[in-house]
Amino acid sequence: MSAALSADVRPARKPREGAFDGVIILVVVLALWQGVHLYAGESAIASPLATLTFLAEFLRTPVFWGHFGATMAAFGYAVAISSVLGVVLGLVLGVRRFAGDVAEPILAGLYSIPKVTLYPMILLIFGLGMSAKVAFGVIHGVVPIVLFTMNAVKNVSPVLLRTARAMRLSQPETIRTVLAPAVLPEMITGLRVGFSLTLLGVLIGEMFASQRGLGFLIVNGINLHNVRMTTGMIVAVIAFALIANGLLLSLDRRFGRTPGGGSRAA
């Protein structure tokens, strides 16, 4: 009885505890922010209140939405390209063991080099503007997606593959009906990591050489001593990243909790 009760109480209590923790963390962050503001002064970082009032006004202007749209367009293209390319390459390299073993250390090496140094090359190839930002986002995001997908395919239970062979499925059919559903949970984790890195790539691209986008606004704010703009845009980017990551995490959890749920659906 008491066990049943506590089992009933637990899930009801947990979200409230989580919300309480969230409020505490928010208060601590705001206090730290205010503290840094008091220490460094008005010319370095705007106070939380000033930033939020600035944001409330700036979010209503078309200027913000123009820059936001530029970032989102580049980010959208980059995410679409790195997801499709990453998943396809990951599946192929996972199925073809030899190619996968050859490629894995090369990919791991590419993953850990500071890709920022490659940005001038990207700029020389694609020119200033949208396509350079997209390409830079893609080279950040595609590698983790390939690695996660490839490892997921390698870890698929051999029974599933033998079943596919017993049923004489062709390779495209095997990939579509057996492999893809089986690797879905890990693939979503890979997509989440790739998503974050793509955002990072696009924003670095905007910060280094661009005339549009949120990254440009952040650097431009510093150059023009418009501290509120810089602080406000940083808050906007953080909010966007956290919301997007939260959505992907909940997706991740849903597929992670019911292993095989994907394959049953297929």
Partner: protein, 253 residues
């Protein structure tokens, strides 16, 4: 064994083939020299730059910054990891924060750091740490989580004191995780510092690359890019080899 050798040979073949392909395309003029310099030329330019010593100050500057950021990150990461591990209530509260930490592109803070600390090495070190500390911290906590209960009980049976338990039980069993953390911290410190130098700085390798780009000095730019990539790759590979040796020794023991 023969399969392993075939894999290694194929890997070398792929990398060498890619380099040769780029070289040929550059020499034939298919790739514009204003876009990409031939790989052999990059090596030649790099040798010239290194021999002239023009870049030594920037190399020293970047290396010192990265080393400082790395040492501080590892120490702070381990200390924070141990502290948070000891306080389960705090850990539960921090969990969502840590889980989403790396989804926020930390580079966006760099202009703020520059505004707060001034345009010197300090904001670079802080940026490197912002990247590396959470990785080290999470690896430390993962390592502490996975110490087998039996070993801790054994320590109690042998009446080891805290220090002995820490050095003889905790440290050896957490080492693989600490190593993973160290590897990440090194990669992140490099990325953070060089990216920071790239966006806004007055010295350093990243700054020199950006400076060469802005001056249309492709030869210097590609030579320095090659230098950074070679240094990072060699370091990653030696760390990987060292880790493999540690693992093998553990298995034998």
């Amino acid at each position: 064994m023969t399969r392993n050798r075939a894999i290694v040979l194929a890997r070398i073949g792929v990398v060498a083939g890619a380099v040769v392909l780029v070289e040929v395309l550059c020499r034939l003029g298919v790739i514009n020299p204003l876009t990409l310099v031939a790989p052999s030329r990059m090596v030649f330019d790099l040798a010239g730059i290194l021999a002239s010593g023009d870049i030594n100050r920037d190399i020293a500057y970047t290396a010192t910054t990265i080393a400082t950021a790395l040492v501080l990150s590892v120490v702070l990461g381990i200390v924070l990891g141990v502290a948070v591990h000891a306080l389960p209530r705090v850990r539960r509260a921090l969990d969502p924060l840590l889980a989403s930490y790396y989804s926020v592109p930390s580079f966006i803070f760099y202009p703020l750091f520059v505004a707060i600390f001034g345009l010197n090495t300090f904001p670079l070190i802080v940026l490197g740490m912002a990247f590396a500390v959470p990785a080290m911290m999470m690896s430390t906590m993962a390592g502490l989580d996975r110490i087998p209960r039996v070993l801790l009980k054994t320590a109690r049976v042998h009446r080891l004191n805290r220090w002995e338990t820490a050095t003889r039980i905790v440290l050896p069993s957490a080492t693989p995780y600490l190593f993973t953390g160290l590897k990440l911290a090194i990669a992140y410190a490099f990325i953070g510092v060089i990216a920071g130098e790239f966006i806004m700085a007055s010295a350093g390798l990243g700054h020199s690359i950006a400076f060469a780009y802005e001056g249309f000095d492709n030869h210097t730019m590609y030579a320095l890019m090659l230098f950074v990539l070679v240094v990072v790759t060699v370091m990653n590979m030696s760390l990987h080899a060292w880790e493999g040796r540690l693992m093998r020794r553990r298995i034998r023991a």
